[in-house]
Symmetry: C3
Subunit: 276 residues, 3 copies
Amino acid sequence: MEKVFFEIVNAVEEAKKQGPLVGSWTNFVTIEFVANVQLATGGRAAMCFLPDETGPLAAISGATYINMGTLQPIAAESLPLAAKAAVELNKPWVLDPVAAGLGDTRNSIIKELKKYPPAIIRGNASEIISLANLWGLVSAKGNVEGVDSTDSVEAAASAAAELAEFTKGTVAVSGEADLIINSEKAYRITGGSEMLKSITGAGCSLGGLMAVYAAVTDPFTAALAASLAFKYASESAQKNTAGTASFRTAFIDNLSLPDTEALVEYAKKHLKETNL
Amino acid sequence: MEKVFFEIVNAVEEAKKQGPLVGSWTNFVTIEFVANVQLATGGRAAMCFLPDETGPLAAISGATYINMGTLQPIAAESLPLAAKAAVELNKPWVLDPVAAGLGDTRNSIIKELKKYPPAIIRGNASEIISLANLWGLVSAKGNVEGVDSTDSVEAAASAAAELAEFTKGTVAVSGEADLIINSEKAYRITGGSEMLKSITGAGCSLGGLMAVYAAVTDPFTAALAASLAFKYASESAQKNTAGTASFRTAFIDNLSLPDTEALVEYAKKHLKETNL
Amino acid sequence: MEKVFFEIVNAVEEAKKQGPLVGSWTNFVTIEFVANVQLATGGRAAMCFLPDETGPLAAISGATYINMGTLQPIAAESLPLAAKAAVELNKPWVLDPVAAGLGDTRNSIIKELKKYPPAIIRGNASEIISLANLWGLVSAKGNVEGVDSTDSVEAAASAAAELAEFTKGTVAVSGEADLIINSEKAYRITGGSEMLKSITGAGCSLGGLMAVYAAVTDPFTAALAASLAFKYASESAQKNTAGTASFRTAFIDNLSLPDTEALVEYAKKHLKETNL
């Protein structure tokens, strides 16, 4: 078995075995979905919002997930403290720059987070471009429309590369084919179900799962494993369901019952190293 | 086919085709349910809470949904900005005056929103009466008990008419039979499942769906289409499910797979024009 | 039938019959789940967060549920007002001291709530120990890890007894076997499904259900009935489901369709009075 497949399977299995605690600040729309995906895949989920708690939670967590959707005013205080604690303790944290560019408060918090480079950045193409712009790494602005991307993954490739270079970390651009990149290598993952767009929280829970895996393996493998698991679980779910709520149930069920052999077969077809 | 049926079917189909973005401020209890109903029916959902974001989100949205449940202090700033942006840009917004009358903070925000008349008001009977009272249009107070109505749809009919007159918009009173009214016409929609009372968010997601349809058709048709779709999807769901969680899943599934022919047949039985 | 079984069945049936309103302040992760469990079991659910609403909501509710997860700054004002209103009106309230001990803000709110003794305290072992410590009743500190307990129910027994003594109320420690105790008696409830750990909100919704039953019976019976219903519904759900999301659906379905005869049979096997 190719080394990358082995590492992915290992991440999926170790999460189930170790049950890592992952602390999250995440948006109110999909917070339960994120927690349920983290729990389904073996992680333990805890969320908090108070400025005197995000740091302590990051300190006891194996990894931290920060999702910028539905920000509250207190985020300006709480989020940098979580990121700071993670970085100072050498623990990975995952940034999901939801709706980057939408407003000044959001943008100034995002800029502040630049001081504490995340191990993984995950977003749609527009968010990745916007983040790279806000951090002064590119001059293009992403066309964020609410939480939706109007840019293609391809269009975000150079912004992703700049972010990976700056953070010395991994950047995952979600789309029809996901792009996972760090300063040394890049993979594309095809497949997955279109129905993920018909339920809320697919992106958020993908980021949340990356944090679970980042607690048990290196960030690049964590991002690969989570993206692949999502593509596979969603494609399988779509085969057996028609309505969007049944699809959502089947999707989480699939994540909770990983068939690692089937996952490797799926990876052989859908995971490809790529040049940038 | 009667014109109203044609318009309803058109709304349901156009939402699926156009995928309109709907920005929402909505309560934390049912925020995911609202988003999932909006996505299931073709809309794209985005939620935000910061004062410097509700206006910009309204500006890029086809319609805006404001639900007053579980208010936070920041609502006093953020909500009027969303409503103002929508009105100034001539975009429809939907007001769901959850728990109108419960407390002074809530009531003063509701009064402030009077400056920016919504295209659609949707509530239960008690909320509609309370809203009309808070806006100085009637003297009766609704008997809001938490989020539940203790008044009948009938009792709210004149308050609904006053509100429709004042806003030059549509008012939808939800209950055993929904009442949809503007200054020119009124319809009643019967049917639907009692089980909607056993899951949280039926009213909220109905308001959220009206916003999706309001982005692709006129407000009156949007309210009719959403109410009818809810009655039909819930009645169908109840036929095949016994437990409340399975019902919830089947309900969203039905909304995501609209059978417009069956919807028209259902409308012929359950949708009636009425005099007031 | 033993008296305790009769009282439990009575609570389950009265909740369905009376439909008591329960006001809750609860965390954002599981707020919808809590509401759906309350509705599935016959209660009516309402949540609010503003300081001028928590008291009024408690006043119109049959019982109040306060869950300390994902606190916001406003909690310092709002939570004592809810508890105060409930106590002054002689209405039961249920405290779920999630993550007690995590941070100073949280801990100072918890200390403030000591002034208004709850009718029921429900938590995992670590939370119960931490709460007893924060209230100056024991000197041990619970090992709260995010929201998870690293202490055994056994280790929390004396802290639970001290809390029951202080509040003149009921304390429920959740774990492999639940411990329900007041100053006069104690029961253990075995059984239930391990899969409850793989979905978020099992503890929160258990607390929320205790509040529903506390509105129709005495606090001790309410805690027993809710714990037993959870053990039974989860064990039944696990028999027919493999994935975590299907389990969640079946679990709520089971709660919504109580088979009281089967519940009594289950109680005979799993509910035992115990000495402390």
